[in-house]
Amino acid sequence: MLDRINKAQKLINSACEALGRRIDIMEVCGTHTVSIFRNGIRSILPESLKLLSGPGCPVCVTDQGYIDTVLNLADRNDCIIATYGDMIRVPGKDHSLETKQAKANVKVVLSSEDALQLAKDNPEHTVVFVAVGFETTAPATAVVVREAAAESIDNFCVLSGHKLVVPAMRALLSGKNDNIDAFLCPGHVSVIIGYGAFAEIVEDFNRPCVVAGFEAVQIVDGLAEICRQLSTGKAELTSVYSAVVSEKGNIAAQQIVDECFEPVDGYWRGLGKIERSTLRLNDKYGQFDAFKRFDISETPSEERKDCRCGEVLCGLIDPPVCGLFGQTCTPQEPVGPCMVSSEGACAAWFKYGREKIHKR
């Protein structure tokens, strides 16, 4: 393994030297972010190569309006909120789901199946499944929606906040952050959507897109491939995760998502409204759409002015630049979502970086 790392490292070093300028590579996957920190990958890269943690952590990209909607639903006595664990600590206007958990109508689930089971076990309540995540978790939500329809489990509904990666990448390059030189594309998402889905980024924006796995050596290989392309003036679509990711992806998963969802314009933290970037249940399964059932219109909520999660997600600043980082915003008492999720950029910088220690 070390041989492979050394080889990739040499390639990166010579490419960066040849380019003679700062290179910004963005990863758009929380698992990549954590692996980069945990393996100390930044420390073996040349200074001119900057890794940016983009909008790749589901909790982080979820906008304040959606979170406030969830918190409002949690106040209803006739509802049970079923959520993945990392959502419960995200602060809303006054509370987080965690503070409401004491009321016992907020349940942490490990899968969409658990959420549906909760509905079956509690027929007198409406179970609202807080469905967040990218293309990786959307198929699991679709499966239970179909199951709920087949079994007529009418007290189950889904507040879909599922997001699509490619529209976010387009939004970044269309004005939010033009300095991004290339993307390290997410392995998990690519398993579902296929690496071919990133072709439009390469074609429309002339930026290298390289799909990589999550082991240190796979990430470094991916970075080396990006550097090779940049130093030769090319922008190509490549997968260095070919054993797992195909060009077309998981067709069955895509079909079930298409059957249940349709892409609509949606709000992202830091990125604002992005066209056709969020999955909403379609008319066929409209009865399970929590937005319809409770007549909720998705409106953006104000984010805290001093919280700079939005700029972090766009790769405009590193987390320690934010005045709250490590001071009033810590994993124990997070102010912004990037500090809540273990996959968030702020949490990773806090846990593995030196900056927090220097601020202490």
């Binding site: 070390l2 945990r38 393996n39 100390g40 420390s43 240190a216 124990q332 273990s342 806090f350 220097h358």
Partner: protein, 340 residues
């Protein structure tokens, strides 16, 4: 089989009357029998040779009560024995307090008491005094245990942070994360099948052997809650020195690593219940390693890093598998509820 009220603890078992006497004579004493306890005096009298003793206490609230590799009873003995052991003493006597919830099944209480007896005998300590209280249903979660322990400081042994110096080696007696990952895997809401097994064990035999046969051990600590990360950070903060450890030298069972990866935990922060970290002078490190490796509780012992000069602020740094470096932070808590 359905249990009846007779199979369970009642509030009256803590009331000081006949039921309490039955509980003590028929359930507690048989598991723990020894001369000091048999008298059932208000205090135990100990005759110690040494004028220097170590004295400690710890409470145990682990959930689940029974886990692969141990139970709350074994943990309550081993945990307190280990606190005495890493302080450089030979554990001699324990006090045992039980706080039991009304309705707790005798079947489970007896299992826990048997395991306390076994663990104490294996560690060569006696439970010389104790107390039992019962509380209403809902006021405790089945059973809570407190143990306090006394150990005789080993002759010529004087461990402390202040003795630690740049160049000292860091020794651990085996794989990390086994206990914490076992507990979380067995918690009701996670349940995944695995071969995880807690490392819960009493370390006094090994630590006494080390301290009696080597001279270079400067400090020891058992990395329980907060894991290796917390212990190394405590050492760094208390000494003002920095620590460098190598990921490739830290023993971790593949099954523990896999479970931690799956759940997003850093194994360095996961609790251990049968491990010590020893800070050893460079000259004694190999000897310390050899003695450990010849002991059943130290077969996987490793030198995992060194104490180094502090450049800026004291910190713990990890050299990763790929030769990169990253900080090992003091865990911020809340990782696992009630692991010990």
């Amino acid at each position: 089989m359905r249990t009846t009220r007779n199979d369970r603890i009642l509030l009256a078992h803590g009331g000081g009357g006949q039921l309490m006497d039955d509980l003590i004579r028929h359930h507690i004493l048989p598991s723990l029998k020894n001369d000091a306890l048999a008298g059932l005096g208000d205090s135990a009298r100990l005759n110690l040779a040494s004028s220097s003793v170590c004295f400690t206490t710890d409470s145990y609230v682990v959930k689940p009560l029974f886990f692969n590799g141990g139970d709350i009873g074994k943990l309550a003995v081993c945990g307190t024995v280990n606190d005495l052991a890493v302080a450089g003493s030979k554990p001699v006597a324990l006090a045992l307090s039980l706080i039991i919830e009304d309705g707790f099944e005798f079947e489970f209480l007896d299992k826990i008491l048997t395991s306390i007896g076994q663990a104490a005998r294996r560690s060569n300590v006696e439970v010389v005094t104790g107390d039992t209280k019962t509380v209403e249903a809902g006021a405790a979660d089945k059973i809570f245990i407190n143990t306090a322990g006394i150990g005789q400081t080993l002759a010529g042994v004087d461990l402390g942070f202040e003795k630690i110096a740049v160049g000292d080696k860091i020794v651990i007696n085996g794989t990390i994360g086994d206990h914490g990952m076992t507990i979380i895997s067995q918690r009701a809401d996670i349940k995944f099948e695995s071969q995880l097994k807690s490392d819960c064990a009493a370390l006094a035999g090994l630590t006494c052997e080390l301290l009696e046969n080597t001279t270079g051990i400067k400090f020891m600590r058992d990395p329980t809650r907060g894991g290796l990360a917390a212990t190394l950070n405590e050492i760094s903060r208390s000494t003002g020195l920095s620590i460098e450890v190598r990921e490739t030298d830290i023993p971790i069972k593949p099954v523990v690593q896999a479970a931690a990866d799956m759940l997003g935990f850093d194994v360095l922060t996961i609790a251990n219940e049968g491990k010590f970290v020893a800070i050893v002078s460079p000259e004694s490190a190999d000897e310390c390693l050899n003695i450990s490796r010849n002991h059943p509780l130290g077969a996987d012992a490793q030198i995992i890093g060194e104490v180094v000069e502090t450049h800026d602020v004291p910190l713990v740094e990890l050299e990763t598998r790929i030769g990169g470096k990253r900080i090992v932070q003091m865990p911020y808590g809340r990782e696992l509820p009630r692991i010990c």
